[in-house]
């Protein structure tokens, strides 16, 4: 009688993420993952059907977890400035706390499994963000812009700062560390740009 071992499964998941981030998609192998996790190949194939199944499941799990974190203490009915601030805080928290998962999610999202994991993990989040945007437009708290322009102005600066932080340096190789002060400064400029 086989039993599931949650600790082992979590270790496998962590190792898979490490390997995907370090070696990329093409070099990833189930055999190597089993070896590095100290389990038999058979056990790994009991958890996952094959490499594609493993990658899809890991991508969806990271996505679900991230999007749930991003919706924490957030509601689409919030006043625009308050809601966007909450989004910045949540997104920064997730990116800073789980840099490897975030990198892994990006790798999978840009692979042939990208559409699948977005479809499976994005649903609720997409609706909440859509409602938030439309509520803000309706209440005239937001200047009328297309969704694309909105997104790039609303989140572009945050993701750029987080990227600098991840790389440890900003433009020209200057050392950089993300801080609340930097985030608040950028946020106020974004609000200035997006509110009437």
């Amino acid at each position: 009688m086989r039993t599931r071992n949650a600790d082992k499964e979590e270790l496998v998941r962590q190792n898979a993420i490490d390997m995907l981030v370090k070696d990329g998609f093409q070099d990833f192998s189930m055999n190597r993952l089993a070896k590095e996790s100290g389990i038999s190949v058979a056990t790994l194939y009991i958890y996952y059907q094959d490499k594609d199944d493993l990658i899809k499941k890991i991508g969806v799990a990271i996505g679900n977890n991230f999007f749930a974190e991003m919706l924490k203490d957030f509601s689409a009915a919030m006043p625009f400035k308050e809601g966007l601030k909450k989004q910045w805080e949540n997104r920064a928290r997730v990116a800073l706390a789980h840099p490897k998962e975030a990198a892994c999610y990006e790798i999978i999202r840009h692979s042939s499994h990208g559409e699948y994991i977005l479809k499976e993990s994005l649903k609720d989040f997409k609706f909440a963000m859509g409602d938030f945007f439309h509520n803000a437009v309706k209440r005239k708290e937001l200047v009328p812009v297309s969704v694309e322009v909105f997104w790039s102005v609303a989140y572009g600066p945050l993701y750029t700062l987080l990227r600098f932080h991840g790389e440890g340096k900003s433009i020209g190789g200057m050392p950089f560390k993300f801080s609340k002060k930097t985030m608040d400064e950028a946020f106020e400029l974004v609000i200035k740009a997006l509110t009437p």
Partner: protein
């Protein structure tokens, strides 16, 4: 739908190519005691994964071997 992990059987094979897979596909598809099967052609062990609540490893091995492939259970 979740699969009972005690109904999963794992084998090492030499089913390496899409053409090999087509050859075995007919045999496995016609066995209604198999709920689901797949082969990881990308893996070095060409792992065959079978979900069945009735078949024994020996029965699977014999089906695969009869189609001209090697097959042994992975523990």
């Amino acid at each position: 739908m979740t699969t009972d992990i005690n109904h999963i059987l794992i084998f090492r094979t030499n089913i390496q190519t899409k053409r090999d897979k087509l050859r075995i596909q007919h045999e496995l598809d016609t066995l209604d005691t198999i709920q689901q099967w797949n082969i990881d052609l990308e893996d070095i062990d060409c792992v065959l994964r079978i979900v069945s609540d009735r078949l024994t490893p020996e029965q699977i091995i014999s089906v695969v071997k009869d189609s001209g492939f090697e097959c042994s259970e992975l523990e």
